[in-house]
């Protein structure tokens, strides 16, 4: 039972980060029909921005603000930085190709991904960056928490899971209960018709990139507060986020959340109950199974072609 509880906590932590990444993929795909393969690298940049701001605030050894404020500030800084990066990527890498064949923005996305990873390496080197959150409050974030049976759920994991779910709820509210969200949904449904109804499509697309990239920035920090980050981490994270988005149904917001959690649970339980060697095999087998039997994903809409 303890192992089950521990694995469930692991799954929720991992899955909530995957879900945030998947949301970025799904938002951008929903509006632009573009698979933004640079998204994983935006996530990586977010983790580096968080690290940089953490150092500016005195690092974990000597923080100049309380721990809770430190975590909030680095998360918002990463979100703001990534949102700006998202706007720049959209403006220079995707907007010029908006009416080009689908392969063109896809290749551009791969190019941006390599550009970001290599630029970061050139600027900051290849060394892993460790937030060293263990040193904050003498390990309190790791050693204190809620006890479930014999399993302690550390504060840092609670913060990660809660923060991710708060962001997801805010996103759901924004998309479903605000005017901007309505414009996003309209653009996603039919871009031309939305434009004819007076919706500023460019603005909606830019806002979508802001939103998706900010979520990637937050995910970057929530990930890197627990494990060291490197310039090469974007590829794997992006691949997992993309898989989660496809499983959930790319273009569907609740689908991305569900896909992220499914991926987290599949990975964690496979490692715990089957074999630690098999987790990637199981995760990507789920992807293949969805592609064969339910290509629209769990909550996505099937494509309807006019014949």
């Amino acid at each position: 039972m303890d192992q089950f509880t521990q694995l469930t906590v692991d799954a929720l932590t991992l899955g909530s980060v995957y879900a945030l990444i998947a949301l970025g993929y799904t938002l951008i795909y929903g509006v632009l029909k573009l698979l933004n393969f640079a998204h994983g690298d935006v996530f990586m940049v977010g983790s580096f921005i968080g690290f940089g701001v953490l150092q500016l605030l005195g690092g974990t050894d000597n923080p100049v603000v309380p721990v809770w404020a430190l975590l909030v500030i680095i998360t918002f800084a990463a979100m703001a930085g990534c949102a700006t990066l998202g706007v720049v990527i959209e403006r220079f890498a995707y907007r010029p190709l908006r009416d080009a064949p689908r392969i063109a923005p896809l290749i551009s996305a791969l190019g941006v991904s390599f550009f970001l990873a290599n630029s970061m390496q050139l600027l900051f080197g290849a060394d892993p960056r460790n937030y060293n959150t263990f040193d904050l409050s003498n390990g309190a974030l790791y050693l204190r928490g809620i006890d479930i049976g014999n399993v302690r759920v550390p504060l840092l994991r609670i913060i990660t899971i809660v923060a991710a779910f708060v962001l997801m709820v805010l996103l759901w509210f924004l998309v479903n209960r605000t005017r901007t969200g309505k414009a996003m949904r309209a653009t996603s449904f039919d871009r031309e018709a939305a434009a004819m109804m007076g919706i500023d499509i460019d603005r909606v697309i830019v806002f979508t990139f802001v939103l998706g990239s900010a979520l990637a920035g937050a995910a970057g920090v929530l990930f890197a507060v627990r494990v060291p980050t490197t310039v090469s981490i974007g590829f794997v994270a992006g691949l997992k986020g993309f898989t989660a988005a496809v499983i959930g149904g790319i273009g569907s917001i609740p689908g991305a959340m569900a896909g992220g959690l499914i991926l987290g649970f599949a990975e964690s339980y496979t490692q715990g109950y089957v074999s630690t060697k098999w987790s990637d095999l199981v995760v990507f087998s789920i992807l293949i199974a969805f592609m064969i039997f339910r290509p629209q994903g769990l909550l996505g809409r099937p494509d309807i072609s006019k014949v």
Binding site: D10, A126, D127, F134, Y142
Partner: protein, 395 residues
């Protein structure tokens, strides 16, 4: 949507196939035409400069550059050191591609590295066919130089100036048995040649010593080890963690504490990174002692520090200095034997085993074993991580 995803997967698959095809080209048997010893010759260094083990390659590179800068002029050689990046995350294809590139450059007369065992396995046949001597300052997998389980992965052109895992495995395991008196040990590997070989060597000795062992295996791209920590029994004494990314060893140690597990982390030479792995009470082994304690090295260290003022002396750099010293000595001997011209690369290769160094940077004298291309009488050292994160030699 289906089309878009299909298209995306096709693009990815094409990239992977292209990379694999590039890596799978047959090794060239080109032998360099005569190269004058008065002109500039090249030595190439294959090491991970980027990725999770990038720290290792950068440390090694700085010492190799310093060795070329100081030793080559003293030997009246003009040597250019070229660096090739082999990130551990990208597997064997990169090392293969670089091997082809250097074989094709007739001015390359020797290779330092590859630094990791996996990259050696990928590149050694190509170098061997071209007659290019290559000496690794850190690849420790046993079957690169010695037959193990009927298998020999290395070639006669491969050398190393550090001992192999057939020494490291028993050294680490015996320390656990005799000094730490362990009863239960969890052994991890990362599904690549270095860790699987070392993990097997440790496991053999522990089992022979009556210690209960559990084996866990993680992908080389794993970053979060929570699920693995969950599988560590509460009464395990040690988790043997032979990663090539010390930051991961630190993460693992912290996640053990997070889950209230009492086991300590014991890393191999690949985990030896004081800047990144600093969990108090953990252990690491390494093929090099702390050379700051060797009086004869004081001048070398001072010179290197002058060129690298922000860096500290680690364990991976000095063997790289030594590897360059061995290679330069072999080149010098080949130049002397061939009257100022290296007629072909085999001439350098032939001289490698004859090299002897009296003031070896790791202490004492250096010579190759007569039985293999490994150093004679080399050993591994064990360090314990202190409260302040420093490494103290304990065995």
């Amino acid at each position: 949507m289906k089309k878009a995803i299909g298209l995306a997967l096709a693009v990815l698959a094409t990239s992977v196939v292209a990379a694999s095809a590039q890596g799978a080209q047959k090794g060239s048997s080109a032998i360099a035409a005569g190269v004058s010893c008065k002109g500039t010759m090249k030595i190439a260094f294959l090491t991970p400069l980027t990725g999770g083990a990038g720290f290792l390659g950068n440390e090694q590179g700085s010492w190799a550059k310093y060795a070329v800068k100081t030793l080559a002029p003293a030997m009246h050689l003009k040597i250019q050191l070229v660096m090739g990046d082999t990130p551990v995350e990208q597997g064997a294809a990169v090392a293969q591609t670089l091997a082809q590139k250097y074989v094709g450059d007739r001015k390359v007369v020797g290779i330092i590295g590859p630094s990791t065992s996996g990259a050696v396995v990928a590149a050694t046949q190509t170098f061997f066919q071209a007659g290019l001597a290559h000496i690794s300052p850190s690849a420790t997998k046993t079957d690169l130089t010695k037959r193990e389980n009927g298998k020999l992965e290395g070639t006669p052109a491969f050398f190393r100036d550090v001992p192999g895992d057939y020494i490291q495995g028993p050294t680490d395991a015996n320390y656990m048995i005799k000094t730490l008196h362990v009863k239960k040990v969890v052994i991890m590997d990362f599904q690549e040649p270095y860790s699987t070989g070392l993990a097997a060597a440790v496991e053999r000795t522990l089992k022979a010593g009556g210690v209960s062992t559990t084996r866990l295996s993680a992908s080389n791209t794993t970053t979060d080890y929570s699920a693995f920590v969950t599988k560590v029994p509460n009464d395990a004494d040690i988790v043997f963690f032979p990663t090539q990314k010390p930051g991961d060893a630190q993460t693992f140690a912290q996640q053990l504490l997070e889950q209230g597990k009492k086991a300590k982390v014991f890393g191999g030479d690949g985990s030896n990174g004081p800047g990144q792995f600093k969990a108090p009470g953990s252990y690491v082994s390494n093929f090099a002692p702390d050379i700051t304690g060797i009086k004869a090295d004081a001048k070398i260290i001072a010179g290197w520090k002058k060129d690298n003022p922000k860096s500290t002396v680690g364990s991976f750099g000095p063997p790289s200095y030594g590897a360059v010293q061995i290679m330069l000595s072999a080149i010098k001997r080949a130049c002397a034997a061939d009257h100022g011209v290296i007629k072909n690369r085999h001439d350098v290769l032939r001289q490698m085993k004859r090299v002897k160094i009296s003031n070896w940077i790791l202490g004492g004298k250096f010579a190759f074993s007569t039985k293999s291309n490994d150093p004679l009488n080399a050993k591994f050292y064990i360090f314990k991580i202190q409260q302040d994160g420093s490494y103290k030699l304990v065995g």
